[in-house]
Symmetry: C2
Subunit: 200 residues, 2 copies
């Protein structure tokens, strides 16, 4: 962030009066440009005892599997965002959304929120951001080819809770990813100004 | 948003190729400036059977009562944001945070998240953004002088659940506020570029 989006003047980084941390400030028009974490909302679409996953057609993590999820847009509720992303990425309609995981990722300034949900019909297909969509039994989940740590955490908790017959909302934070998924990522930017890119 | 924060050129509003909605786009450097909802995190600080509230020293809703809460900052977890806001607004330390309400406010592009929490000691005082801080029994809550609809909803649910002896995570969305709190608000801007301002 170099220029004021309000007046076009150059920005400086400094602690504004009365605040306790550095901000991007415009000395010309006085605007303080706050930056805040972004929300990723997604679904765990269930059809009988199987879960719908999408194989990513875009970076980061191209070719890896994910739950349908993406950046919450202005004017949406969390449930609307999760439902829209499921429709966009998997051409699938869901209902009966129940909050399941709320995962802070402070190293990338994101909060990931997943809802359990019911696939209304077993109809799905790859959206433009997906290469492939498929239903998976627990034993078929491609654990080594999951795109994001939040998806892995959400699916592990989901199957554990399902075996025990009771679901509890899970709230935690995750550290930076390690291992295969990280190595295959091509996006390490923290910029909020480029393409809305999910990161873990 | 008029100018590109990356290169300083004028922005245009248009639907970028492959997308389905208008964005602020820089035709000079190609940057798409995404805008996304912001997260407000806060606490319900409990001391024995009383709740800690703060009377606001700043707009919007100056003079009205609120739970300690504010904008989540970069690099934080949800729990860290809620804890920090409680320390800043009420000089109070909390622990044992438990997610309680998750409230989408699509009309102001915010998601409010409140945690039940334990006041570590009955020590508190107004921070710079508060005029007054105090512990309230349920019968003492100033229902007609609460600053935000999300605070009212969270407190109503909290006391109902407490009477029933069991707390459930509440996930919903709220419409624009009506009544006294709205009339007394002086902030109706949707800008994300000014002071981080909580709105309902």
């Amino acid at each position: 962030m170099k220029f004021c989006s309000h007046c076009g003047a150059s920005l400086v980084v400094k602690i504004p009066p009365g605040e306790d941390r550095e901000r991007h400030v415009c000395d010309q028009c006085g605007t303080i440009h706050y930056q805040n974490p972004k929300i990723i909302a997604g679904c765990i679409p269930e059809w009988e005892d199987r879960i719908l996953l999408c194989r990513r057609a875009i970076e980061p993590r191209l070719g890896l599997w994910t739950l349908p999820a993406g950046f919450m847009e202005l004017g949406e509720t969390l449930e609307q965002a999760a439902t829209r992303e499921t429709l966009e990425e998997a051409c699938a309609e869901v209902d009966e959304l129940q909050l399941y995981t709320v995962l802070s990722l402070p190293h990338v300034d994101q909060v990931h929120v997943f809802f359990r949900s019911r696939l209304i019909r077993p109809d799905f297909a790859p959206g433009v951001e997906s290469l492939e969509t498929a239903l998976f039994h627990e034993s078929e989940i491609p654990w080594e080819e999951l795109a994001f740590s939040t998806v892995r955490k959400t699916l592990r908790d989901f199957f554990q809770d399902r075996r025990q017959g009771s679901f509890t909302v899970r709230v935690t934070h995750l550290p930076p990813a390690t291992g295969a998924a990280k190595i295959r990522s091509t996006d390490t930017s923290r910029s909020g100004a480029g393409r809305n890119v999910a990161k873990t």
